[in-house]
Symmetry: C2
Subunit: 280 residues, 2 copies
């Protein structure tokens, strides 16, 4: 693991690291925000942030304004990249923004040529937390949060791993990927045509069946240009009703899909996660 | 004037506009943040933000996290671009980052070929505020603030126009451009070799002579890689002592030149400006 940048931020530190990711068979970069409390030896809980299509570890750290609140609450934030990277990693031959590089969809691909590198599910759920917890002054308490494709990733990962996360939240998540163009394209490419394989990565399908819920907060702007075709929060609400899932879905009037939206409400999300950390 | 984007942000609006700038003989883009108070008919004061080398109107609006505080305080923020733009505008033949496009240094150039378009001083001091005050629900109260090259611009402009601004602040300003490589290159190119022409754009020279001070706050990171060669806050401190200028210069331990530094202290700057608005 190599430290490649460090910026003091609200009394703590934003740092970027590269490391060899065994699950992804490539070198990966991630960012971590360490709040000022770690300087006094406190082990802090970690909020994992999963970004949306086209992003790297940088978008959230530069644009969300999360460090101020993380510094106050004493939580670390870890932001991985959104796909495997590097010359050896195949990309969509069409170089589209919604498949291949920058669009890993947080699944373990089963279809060649993607199945060697595109294993973001295992990377985010297992390899990265193991690395973080071995190398930084953090506690084993984790929450997970994300935007759009990363909102799908956060919800799906928390639903599948309820003992690993104390809470989950999302901005504008792709709530029902089996039933929208972005999700259908990605799942067909990474997982093949058998839709029974898709359901294990679909938050609505998972939420209908869960018996061990993780508290969930979702914010969705009602002026989001992707709302109707891609995001489908009504399906998530419907699934939550079926299983009496503790989902708080907030429609935010006038807000769009951008980081201006995320920045406006990230404080609520971090306080939500901090509240559940304290309860553990 | 054409509105080209709008994003709801902390209950207010971030918007970008393009317009024909007469002083610069080209089309320019700027960004404005309008806080929620304008929806109830309140006219709000304006903080002008001047960015550093290579920036556009977008860097500050995306990375500084200023909207939360501006929304609370009820102030607008206006961020212009850092140089004239467009195919007809000459650039440094070497395409360097510190002269030409993205590096207007907030002066009125006198030397060809720069003197036709590179008139950022007149644009920022006169044309842009006139446009803003004619088209948006703002009061005539103004403050000015900036980073690096924009910190130079903010201090220099406030020192030359003490009746137009109620306060000024800067992050990591190029405090004494006549005496550092960035400033000498820019002033030679835009203003020629006669250093008497440079002094009217040098904050240290202006501060030594001023009789009508504008309250000033400056933050400087002590781990800024440009601190010793380019920024020279000691010269500004020295000039302030000579004229008993109301300068508060704060050295911030561990901080660098990045937006992570700006984001950490922008709240202090906006509250400083709001306090001086209220006093007027």
């Amino acid at each position: 693991m190599e430290n490649i940048s460090a910026n003091k931020s609200f009394g703590g530190w934003h740092k970027q690291y590269t490391h060899r990711a065994d699950t992804l068979s490539c070198e990966m970069r991630f960012a971590i925000y360490l709040p000022p409390q770690v300087a006094t030896g406190t082990k802090v809980p970690v909020v994992y942030w999963l970004s949306g299509l086209t992003c790297t570890d940088e978008n959230f750290m530069q644009k969300a304004g999360a460090q101020r609140v993380a510094a106050e609450l004493g939580v670390a934030i870890v932001a991985p990249d959104t796909s495997p990277r590097g010359d050896e990693v195949p990309d969509d031959p069409d170089a589209s923004y919604d498949f291949g590089l920058g669009a890993g969809f947080y699944v373990n691909a089963t279809q060649p040529p993607w199945n060697r590198h595109y294993r973001m599910y295992d990377y985010v759920v297992h390899e990265l937390p193991t690395l973080i917890e071995a190398n930084f002054p953090v506690s084993p308490q984790r929450a997970i949060c994300g935007h759009s494709m990363g909102g799908h990733g956060a919800l799906m990962i928390a639903l599948r791993n309820p003992t690993r996360y104390s809470s989950v939240s999302a901005f504008s998540p792709i709530s029902h990927p089996m039933n929208c163009p972005w999700g259908q394209k990605a799942f067909t490419g990474y997982l093949g045509d058998d839709q029974s394989q898709w359901a294990q990565y679909d938050s609505c399908e998972l939420m209908k069946q869960t018996s061990e819920p993780v508290p969930a907060l979702v914010d969705q702007g009602d002026q989001d240009p992707f709302l109707n075709e891609q995001l489908n929060p009504e399906a998530l609400q419907h699934a939550a009703k079926q299983s009496q899932y503790p989902l708080e879905l907030r429609m935010q009037t006038g807000y769009d899909h951008s980081y201006y939206f995320i920045a406006s409400f990230i404080e609520d999300h971090l306080r939500f996660h901090a509240g559940h950390f304290q309860a553990n």
